[in-house]
Symmetry: C2
Subunit: 378 residues, 2 copies
């Protein structure tokens, strides 16, 4: 299994200081996360795509290309809003990223959890699912063929068209990002595509019907061996429970609906405090020999969404009190994978995985150290 | 004035060895050029956009984001094929690049010298100029306003739409790339936008009508002070005339029409040899203390298009016999600007500039060391 880190580039007002985060700082932070994750031996760096002022990353491929200064970590979107984009351009962008990174690029394609992109790119939300289905079909054809002849409803036809450059990887990995829709999970299984589930709160049991539908569809299509499962969730890593608890004001601000009736969740202090808290950190990591300027996160602004993918036995089952450092200013000395001290409560991780029926995930994002029960029916 | 280097990422078969260049190598070379140009003190790194198998760069913003690992060089497309793209997405990509590079991004928008992009993105070449005019208007509106209300013929309307992220620079520089069309130069002048002329061969006198039209339109519009002029041309830098001459087979292959009736120029050996050759190099540069692995270009494959922009008095007027190194494998030690030895025949440069009436260019790309008279009416 693999561990990764994900940033959506959220642009919030710091609830303590009232200071609005700047996009240029968040961008530098994101690149700092990528470099640090690479040095720490994490497996994947992921960047979200949004088109509203609460976020700073609308072009994952461009930001990921800057993150290709890393040496081995894989680089993926999470998610590319394929329904509103041109699959030809998406392939061009990520094939270029694949050339730059010498075969480390991936696409995670999703439908979008927000409506803004549909207005921005002139699409009707009534076509939400058909848009995605058609464009996923085209993206796969572009990926799998050097020249493409294709026609559809939502994009001009192609006649023996070359799409360049060609990716290094054959094929360029395309995952499907799924929220809570069973038919989306079935489609991913039917197509034999790897699937990542987005998971904001609650228990992993909420995800079981999606996983079951995915596996059943893959089996019906005759390619159960092609299925791969990923989970994505929020995780705040702190040196101790109090440090983890300090994320609350920022987390509340981050998740709350920003417009009347807008998408989001209101996490009340009572709900936050009443939530079952896993007192053990699930995992955290720090270079064994942290340089003097390798400080702990500076506070709630480091609550960037973290997702866990673990390769299991690769890491020593040791404990560390150090949080996952998050400052882009730090410059840890290059560390070989074996130099890392990893802390992970593996029986706990394994049991929560088993308990929820998500056996053998390829890219399971583990349950966060602190499970937040959120208001709202997610 | 400024000096820059430009790559179109051409993917040719080496005419000597018959070996086809690989996209992954050309991509690494392009990033090597950017890093070297940054270390040598050049001012701009430019990446072209093409959508046919003879080239490897279809997504300049993605490649430029990888080149943002440099420290001070400016990063621009040359050109962004604005007529076939979505200006909203173009702004998003380059604003992201601007955040990554902390204010070093630029867009050079052009109409396209090729027809392939129109078929690929479902546009009619009959709309060639209207497409560009409309999309340039939208791009400027997106650049200059945080929220945009707009409607046009070729792109869905926008209603009070935010486009994020916002660039660091206010405004994000937008140049117009012009080939040989006087009305395009007039439009750039009328809009008060900086203009770069693409210039494949012949003398600079061919460009005079374009420059005159640009300046006249800018004066009529009442903003002559906003005009800036750039020139872009091929330049092969060699240690001596014989080394420069060795580029011929590659240059011939690069410029020849690849399909019957296709766009291109046939440069015959006779025309190449009969061309007036400037026996003095116009400029070349090398780190004063080249590391052992800083070798000279390995042959014709280093004929990447070079464009010259000079800041004049910043550099010592010294001579060097070293060519501009082009190999991405080299890793010159970081050099401060003052450590560079620059060689430039400044009176020659100044006189050729004056002679052709291109006085006071802001970003004059100098005449190449070897002027090629090409067959074909460019």
């Amino acid at each position: 299994m693999e561990l990764g880190i994900l940033t959506l580039g959220d642009l919030q007002r710091d609830p303590r200081t009232g200071r609005q985060h700047r996009a240029v700082d968040r961008t530098a932070e994101a690149l700092g996360y990528a470099e640090l994750a690479d040095q720490l031996g994490l497996d994947v760096f992921a960047v979200g795509e949004h088109h509203s002022p609460e976020f700073t990353t609308s072009s994952p491929a461009v930001l990921l290309a800057a993150a290709a200064r890393t040496s081995r970590i894989r680089l993926t979107s999470a998610v590319t809003l394929l329904g509103v984009l041109d699959p030809v351009r998406v392939y061009e962008d990520f094939a270029t990223l694949d050339l730059i990174s010498r075969g480390r690029a991936e696409i995670t394609a999703g439908r979008s959890a927000f409506v803004e992109p549909f207005a921005l790119f002139g699409h009707d939300t009534a076509d939400y699912d058909q848009l995605f289905a058609e464009k996923l079909d085209l993206l796969l054809q572009v990926r799998d063929n050097e020249r493409v002849t294709w026609s559809g409803r939502y994009r001009p036809a192609l006649s023996d068209a070359p799409v360049i450059p060609r990716a290094v990887q054959e094929p360029l990995p395309i995952w499907v990002g799924v929220g809570g829709t069973v038919s989306s999970a079935e489609r991913a299984g039917r197509l034999g595509l790897p699937m990542t589930l987005g998971y904001i709160g609650g228990t992993l049991q909420h995800l079981r019907p999606l996983v079951d539908a995915y596996r059943a569809a893959g089996a019906r299509a005759g390619h159960p061996e092609r299925l791969q499962l990923g989970l994505s969730t929020h995780l705040y890593v702190g040196a101790n429970p109090a440090a983890a608890r300090a994320v609350y004001p920022y987390f509340h601000e981050y998740l709350r609906p920003k417009t009347p009736g807008g998408r989001g969740f209101t996490v009340t202090p009572a709900a936050f405090e009443a939530a079952p808290v896993r007192t053990a950190q699930l995992w955290s990591a720090a270079p064994r020999n942290s340089p003097p300027n390798c400080s702990t996160p500076s506070g709630p602004s480091d609550s960037t969404a973290c997702t866990g993918r673990s390769t299991g036995a690769d890491y020593p089952n040791a404990w560390s009190r150090s949080p996952l450092p998050g400052s882009p200013r730090m410059s840890p000395r290059p560390s070989a994978r074996g130099d890392l001290t990893w802390a992970r409560q593996r029986p706990e991780a394994a049991s929560c995985t088993r308990r929820d029926g998500l056996s053998n995930p390829t890219r399971a994002f583990f349950e966060p150290s602190r499970v937040l029960y959120l208001d709202g029916a997610h």
